[in-house]
Symmetry: D3
Subunit: 140 residues, 6 copies
């Protein structure tokens, strides 16, 4: 558990929102990332905007196996997230790629294409992606 998570855990419920607001992006552990993601997805879903809810459903289906398998599609999602430089998206697709059986070596080749296409501006996101990979290994 991170110091921040520990501090949060020690607080009496209900958890004040200001703390949870910080649980985003490159600053949180994978567990905190997942919690924030799930919590906010629920809030968004409950807001009941039909367009947004349909988009989320469509997003979920875009990576289902078709002519291309799940692993390939998740690697496509990963490289897209990398060149568009979205840390949260990269984290999400790294997790999914690993679940779909991608090896570290394969992921490095995905990152290599993203780096050449997107340039040095991609490097900080590459560092954080590799940090997430390391973090995942530490959790096993």
């Amino acid at each position: 558990m991170s110091p921040l998570a520990a501090a949060l855990a020690a607080l009496p419920p209900p958890l004040p929102f200001v703390f949870i607001a910080g649980m985003t992006d490159s600053d949180s552990t994978l567990d905190e990332f997942r919690q924030f993601r799930e919590r906010m997805n629920k809030v968004i879903f409950n807001a009941g905007n039909l367009t947004i809810n349909r988009f989320f459903a469509l997003d979920g289906r875009a990576y289902e196996a078709g002519t291309l398998g799940v692993k390939t599609k998740e690697m496509l999602g990963l490289v897209s997230s990398m060149v568009l430089r979205c840390d949260d998206c990269v984290t999400y697709h790294v997790i999914r790629c690993k679940e779909a059986g991608a090896t570290d070596e394969e992921l490095m080749e995905v990152f290599a294409v993203g780096l050449v296409v997107g340039g040095s501006i991609v490097i900080p996101h590459l560092r954080r992606a590799v940090a997430r990979l390391e973090e995942m290994k530490g959790m096993k």
Copy 2:
């Protein structure tokens, strides 16, 4: 007050800058966001670069009522910030939209357009925008 803010408050003045540097983006409470924003705007203004100072003045005026009202212009600023994926800008325009009388339902419709135009890469920023909305409710 957040744990970080509390730690800062306990420090003897003058506050070392390295701590304040961390008070940015998705990681800070709205109060910390405002303090960092105001402090740095002052430092930038005092640097005396004419182009930068004129840009800031122009930026302030771009959302004044014209043929379109303030609320509409702020929603235009919000959706632009969303598709360009700038959390700080989104936070700023969410605050301004609320001040101009936008309802949560209207903001969700702004987000819906931003999501369809900008794609799933916008989702993490949507989560953080909705988190800011929640945070604002908690402050009332």
Copy 3:
């Protein structure tokens, strides 16, 4: 009719595809833009990819009246297209904004927000957007 369209019209059918490929973006008249758009949308639809077809349906619905009216939503789509610098998208939303009753003065205010948010990099797209507005007037 443009010289290119005239040259095409003088050709015996079937029209070779290579010519039609050129009918895109900033280079074509509004009529050519519409023809290319409709023709390719049909080809894409017929390809039968479920995710793509659902996205197109969702895109069509995102601008329907809700709490915000069609004109406001189209202006949101327009400013998003402007800051993301997509000429075809700008052309499309300029047409839709005019159909929804937006005045030239209102569109200039939308462009003004887009310009300040997106910077001088937006200027060439602003020029082309205004050129489309002029073209539409010439067609009445």
Copy 4:
């Protein structure tokens, strides 16, 4: 041959550069695209900037077979080009994907991921990508 290419072919050598400048992006046939590409690559190479020349060499190697095969890597390059909305890059990788054995159905699935990740702003580039696919079929 396109009317523009025919007009060029009728001109006495040396071909004035101003005409060739137009042979770019979405406006040219695949043949013109290739000619412009090869001609300018040669000019760039001859300029002798070491960083640029090394980058071009690295770019060429990034898609060579490794743990992932050429087809997968080219699809990664294609989806990256799609979400970054670069028509020339899309055209290039569509050609390479077809050479590596990708089917139309597979390419549509690559486009589907790009569309969901990148949003409706990607649609005009999707239309042009599919137009290139059609053009390639017409050339067989």
Copy 5:
């Protein structure tokens, strides 16, 4: 004069707008680029939107000599335009850099930084930038 410009010149005044709309971006000669630019800037200025007009004034002043000279500032504008992949902006700053005395070798070094920072996605814009340089030489 390009074939398109010749076709336009043969038309009776007033020149229909739809033709001029095509005179943009990578498809036009430098003369056509300048004419379209000047014509549309005038239309935009006459629309009388204060924010837009002030932005244009600010844009003009941003490259005036300060602590850094005009040539350095124009090179900064050029590399920014390159990594943001705006052909018209690149063309504009290439012209201004040459006027400010930048050599071809210096421009290639600017392009090299832009290429490494922005990645292979920048290459088509690099080709067009070098094409503009060639075109300028042919005009002397």
Copy 6:
């Protein structure tokens, strides 16, 4: 030392990775930024992907003195990072610019070009860049 760094320093080795994952971007002190950067660069290098390692080597060389000096090239890298809105890249090039002898006034002029080119969306990154400059002064 920041509170987070102090908390980390008090932990028994080996340092759990989850904590280090947080040491990125706008949230860390310059020292933490450097440590994370160096640590992850080593992990990436050791992964042995040839394309990635060559890109890193090329990136290092792109800013070496040529016809343009190091200071000018670093300012080109800085303005590119600013308009592409990459905080880590901005931090890196601010450090390098200062090492190459750039004055604060020169850096503000670089920022001014970046701001006008990239628009108000650049402002949060400008604030963080100036915060880094302040932090560097506090370290002397």
